[in-house]
Structure formats: C-alpha cells, structure tokens
C-alpha cells in the first residue's frame, strides 16, 4: 500500500493541476458568489451614551455573528433613510430599537439577543447595587459552576423556519460540487491501472486486492479531504466566514461526505469501460446532483415536487443539508445523525457494489483478449 501511495504522490507531483484548479475554483466561486465577505451580519449601532447602552454595545462587539459600525444617533437616522437594506440598532438606557425595513428571522434573533443582554446586565446591576461587587463575583462563579437553569433559545417549529446565509450557501455548495471532480478523477486511477495492466502487475507481486483497493481509495479520500479542509480553513480563518460556532462539525461532516463521494466515484467507474466514459458521466452527474441537491440554490425555494423528490439520490443533498443544519440552524452532530448515517450507509453499499462489479470486469478484460 505504501508503494501505491508513493506512485500516486509522484503522479500528483507531476500533475498537480486537478487538485489545485478544483481548490482554486471552489475558493473563487464561493468568494465571488457570497459577495466577497464573511457572513457576519452588518449592524449600524448608535447609543445614547449611557452606561447601560455602552455595555450592551460592548457585549455585541464581542459576538462573532455581528460586524458592527458605531454611529451617532443622527448619523444612524440619516444612513437608515438612504440605505434601507441595512440593519440599524439604536441602544438606550432602558430600551432599544431595531431599525429595519423588513422583519426577518435575522432581526428576530437579533432582538432576542439584545433583550437577553439587557436582562443579564440589569440582573448584574441589581446584585451589585444590593449586595456589592464581591457578591456578584460569587454569583457569577456559582452560575458558571452549576447553572440553575438552562435557557434554550429556539423558534417555534424550528424545522419549518427557512434560514438563509448566502456566504455559507455558496461556500458549501461549491465546495461539495468541485470536490466531486477531484475525488472522481483520483478514483479513476483504479480504472486506468486495470486498463494498463499495472493492476495485474501489482497482483502478481502478491499485493492483495484489499491492499490495492485500500491504497487507491484511501489516497483519493485523503486528497478530497485535504481540498475540503483547505477551503474550510481558508474561509473560516482568513476570509472570516461565520460558521455559527459549527466549525468542527463542518469538518466532521465534510469527512463523511468525502467518503460518500469516493464510494460514488468507485461505483461509476465500475459501470464503464474507459476513463473518458467515466469522466463524461461524472461531469453530467456532478452538475445534476448539484442542482437537485441544493448546491447552487437552497432547496427551500424550489417549487417543483418532482425535482424535490429527486434530491434523495444526490450525495450533495446529504452533505449540504447536514452542513447547513450544523451551522445556520445551530444543530448538534446528533441533530444531523440521520444524514451522517445515510451518507455512511450509502458509501458502504456503493463500495461493496463497486468493487464487486470491478472484479467482474477484471474477468471480462481477460475474456475480451
């Protein structure tokens, strides 16, 4: 297996264009179509300069979800008259106003957040006024150790709420789409090795079939994963895309998705005779799967029942849904367990079918002498 990896690495060194171009294309498409910025919500905030409003502002500035520009009250009123697509927030001592043209889910979440900060600060102030600074420290410590109750913020009928984050939609969509090509081009080496007779040479050198498949598939898997991780890291830590605290969940789901795409590519090459046939099929399927799987646009805006029914056959659908749920919807990995399981089960099924068909094809190579 080490030998196979070495040969594949040398091949990659000589022909790195596929990996580089697919990674660069993911970055370019996701960056351009997401508007070139991170997905934090831009807030224009003005305070009445009281202690409370300044503390609320300070707390908001610590949140990753918001990109805040501080203005005077007059400036805010002026800007909001002209730029009606912005979200304005006017903070006062006892209350606040959200200046916005259209009520949306984002505005509702912002309001909830601001109210919570006001309540927490009021509670803190009451303790300090009545029992002193040291008592507050005591309370804060005990709350951190053993919270007496857990406040969970959620909308009613969460599954029905449509949340859209353009930056993540573009990032996940293009990432899942382009990695399809990278992985399938790598998996095609199996077909090429079988066609050229290298496969048989390796078998004659007593390399087991398991080692041969494992060597090729693990390498393809790793290349796909590296591409996805490069993109995820770049967008999170350099471009600053907001992943709603779901960064590691995104990494875990990506690793499962790569497995599914690798298995799918194996299945495709088991159905065809040549690399060019498999390239054509994979190109067609990748585009189709991206469309019906919600990579190009959110499936929530699709009206056609027929198109929606097809989403289940698209590997991209499972990846896309799971990634959106652990980020935009704030779900845990447990919450997307069904998608993860589905991806793993499909991957196992496709690997088994793929290898079985490929082995039968090996026999056919001999019969077509």
């Amino acid at each position: 297996m080490k030998g196979i990896w070495l040969a594949r690495l040398q091949n990659l060194k000589r022909k790195p264009l596929v990996l580089i171009s697919m990674t660069v294309m993911t970055i370019i498409f996701a960056y351009i179509l997401s508007g070139g910025v991170g997905s934090s919500i831009t807030l224009l905030v003005a305070t009445d300069d009281t202690d409370m409003s300044n503390k609320v502002l300070e707390r908001l500035q610590h949140e990753d979800d918001y990109s805040i520009t501080v203005l005077s009250e007059a400036e805010l009123q002026e800007v909001m008259k002209e730029k009606r697509d912005k979200i304005g927030l006017q903070l006062q001592e006892k209350t606040y106003s959200v200046l916005v043209d259209i009520e949306s889910d984002v505005v509702r979440m912002l309001s909830l957040e601001v109210v919570t900060i006001y309540n927490e600060l009021a509670f803190q102030e009451q303790i300090i006024t009545n029992a002193g600074e040291s008592k507050w420290e005591e309370v804060e410590e005990s709350m951190a150790e053993e919270p007496s109750f857990l406040l969970k913020k959620s909308s009613m009928d969460e599954s029905q709420v449509f949340r859209y984050d353009g930056a993540l939609q573009s990032l996940f969509g293009f990432m899942l789409y382009f990695v399809f090509y990278t992985i399938s081009i790598n998996v095609q080496f199996i077909l090429e090795d079988k066609r050229t007779g290298i496969w048989n040479r390796l078998k004659l050198a007593s390399i087991s079939r398991f080692q041969l498949y494992f060597g090729h598939l693990s390498f393809s898997y790793l290349i796909g994963l590296i591409q996805m991780l490069l993109v995820i890291f770049l967008f999170r830590f350099i471009i600053g895309t907001n992943m709603y605290g779901g960064f590691w969940k995104v990494v875990v789901i990506s690793s499962v998705y790569v497995l599914l795409v690798m298995a799918f590519s194996l299945f495709i090459i088991s159905l065809v005779k040549t690399v060019s046939q498999s390239s054509v099929i994979i190109s067609l399927l990748a585009v189709a799967f991206a469309m019906i799987g919600g990579a190009y646009w959110p499936l929530e805006i699709v009206q056609s029942e027929g198109l929606l029914a097809l989403k289940w056959i698209s590997p991209i659908y499972y990846g896309m849904e799971a990634l959106k749920r652990v980020t935009i919807y704030g779900e845990t990995l447990g919450g997307v367990f069904s998608y993860i399981c589905m991806m793993i089960l499909l991957a196992i099924l496709l690997i088994v079918i793929g290898i079985t068909l490929l082995e039968k094809r090996t026999e056919r190579y001999h019969s077509s002498e």
Binding site: K2, Q10, R14, T196, L202, A205, S206, S367, E369
Partner: protein, 309 residues
C-alpha cells in the same frame, strides 16, 4: 517446472480455453503461437495465477498454483501485452516503484535498477518521463519492470506488438540473451518468425485449444518433409525440364505461370546441379527460391486459415 493440466476457462457463455495441457521445464524456451483471440492471453493469465481456471490445474514444481500462488509469483516475471507503466513517471521511478512492490529496497534496489536499465538499453534515458518515450522504448521498459526481482521464469505476452523493426530486433536480442543465460521462457505471439527464432518447443493454439505442439521441425513435418524450388528463366525449354526429370527422378516437376516448380525431399541440396543442367541446356536462370514449410504453413495446414487472419 510449470505445468498446465486440462485447463478450461469459461466466461459466462463463452468458452475461452478448452482442455489446455502444457509443460515448461527449467531453462526451456517455449512458444505459444496463435492468432488474435485464440485464448493465449487467457491461458497465460491462468498460468501466472491472475485468474482461476474454471476446471483443471496449474502446478509449479508439483504444487498447485490455484491453492498456493505465492511460490510461483516469487519466481515469475510477466511482461503483459499492455504497456503497464506509469506514463507520468520517469523510467527510473517506474523501476523503483515496481522494485519496491517486489520488496527490493536501499542499495539493492538502486543496483538492480541500474542493471536492468543497462540490459534494456535505457541508461541514458533513465530520468526521462515515460510518456515521452517511443513505442519501442516503452516496450523495453515494460520488459525491464518484469525482470527487477530476478525471476527464474518469464512469461511474455506479445512483447513486440506495434513497434518499429529496429526496436523489435533489440527486444528479440534481449530475450535471446535472457534465454541463453538460462531463463525459462514462455513467449506468446502471432508472429511465427519470433517464435521460431526464440523457442525450442512450440504450442499452437486456436479457438481456445492446443491444436499441435512439438519442436519446430516436428511441427513443420506435419505439413511436409519436402522443399520446393521455384525457378525463373529467360526461356524455360522443354529440353531443360526433361533433363531435370531425368536427373531427379523422384522429384515432382511442373510449370505454373512461366515458373518451374521442383518439389523434392529436404535432405537433398540440388541447386548446384540445377544450375549445371541449366548451363548445359543454354538456359539462363534469373531467380531461384528454395521454399521449406513455415509455421504459417503448419497453421494453415491445421486450421485452413492464415495465422494473421
């Protein structure tokens, strides 16, 4: 010793190989001759343990290869019909890769690679990428990759397909040298002249079956022990023909399209006599061709078809 006993291979409904029996003794060079689609590659695949026979058995030193392929694989080098090399890697990198696969490492791998490069005449091009090589150079490297682990038996499947005459001659010389060094060889081809040049014993295969086997001489004797001399002259006189008949009473002498055909046993050497009789009868011979049966004739005789049909 490699032995095939009643090998039979069926792919779905197609019977690719039927009841093949073969034997390769150590140091022997054996040819497997047959047209495309005769079942040669399937037979080789079974002999080299790549595919399992539907029926029958392959034995290596009397041990079943079907049950225990490892012993044969260690001793076996296979040169496939395809160019089984990585086109993006250099000649040296390819040899290093296949050497490593066979467990060679360190200094041994380096030395063995250099030896092989020298043997196949690619030392000067060792660092060049294989995809820039000519067909002949690729074929040579294809052979080199099969020799790295120093096998004692070499199976070559049509190793000269699609290359120029110069490269072909180089490859045949290399193989001949290997045979002279004691390598056991199984050489398949549909070029009978290659098989004739390299092999002591020949199996002729057609439509999945061995239809004849033996030494070149034995096989050719299946067609005839005779030779035919074709004579062309300015004027082939009746007198000259009669003089020949008188001198060679057992020969069959006939005229076809102004060519005189003389068929007689191969053990006779009649050319000098024929020229003397011609001179005596004032006949100027413009060409004389002595034809003995070839393996092509043997195949034609056995199947009614030409080898390259």
């Amino acid at each position: 010793m490699l032995q095939a006993i009643d090998l039979h291979k069926k792919f779905k409904t197609k019977e690719a190989v039927r009841k093949v029996n073969m034997q390769l003794e150590a140091g022997e060079s054996v040819g497997l001759l047959g047209p495309n689609g005769a079942g040669k590659s399937t037979t080789i695949s079974m002999l080299s343990s790549l595919i399992m026979p539907t029926n029958g058995e392959v034995l290596w030193n009397n041990v079943s290869v079907n049950k225990n392929p490892e012993a044969l694989r260690k001793a076996l080098g296979v040169v496939p019909q395809e160019i089984a090399l990585y086109p993006e890697l250099s000649a040296k990198e390819n040899l290093h890769f296949f050497g490593r696969i066979y467990g060679l490492k360190g200094q041994l791998l380096v030395e063995r690679t250099e030896e092989i490069l020298q043997k196949i005449g690619l030392t000067d091009r060792k660092n060049d990428i294989v995809k820039t090589f000519s067909g002949g150079m690729k074929r040579r490297l294809n052979i080199g990759a099969a020799l790295l682990h120093n096998p004692s038996i070499l199976i070559m499947d049509e190793p000269t397909v699609g290359i120029d005459p110069q490269s072909r001659a180089y490859i045949l010389d290399t193989v001949k040298q290997l045979v002279e060094e004691g390598m056991t060889l199984l050489y398949t081809s549909h070029y009978m002249e290659e098989v004739e040049l390299l092999c002591d014993k020949i199996y002729i295969m057609d439509q999945g079956e061995i239809i004849a086997y033996g030494t070149k001489e034995t096989l050719k004797s299946l067609v005839s022990d005779n030779q035919t001399i074709e004579l062309k002259a300015h004027i082939l006189s009746q007198k000259f023909e009669e003089a020949l008949k008188k001198y060679f009473p057992t020969a069959n002498i006939r005229k076809e399209d102004e060519i005189l055909l003389i068929t007689m046993p191969q053990n006779e050497e009649p050319l000098a006599t024929i020229f003397a009789i011609a001179a005596k009868n004032a006949v100027t011979i413009t060409s004389a061709i002595v034809k003995v049966p070839s393996l092509e004739d043997v195949f034609l005789h056995l199947t009614g078809r030409a080898l390259r049909d």
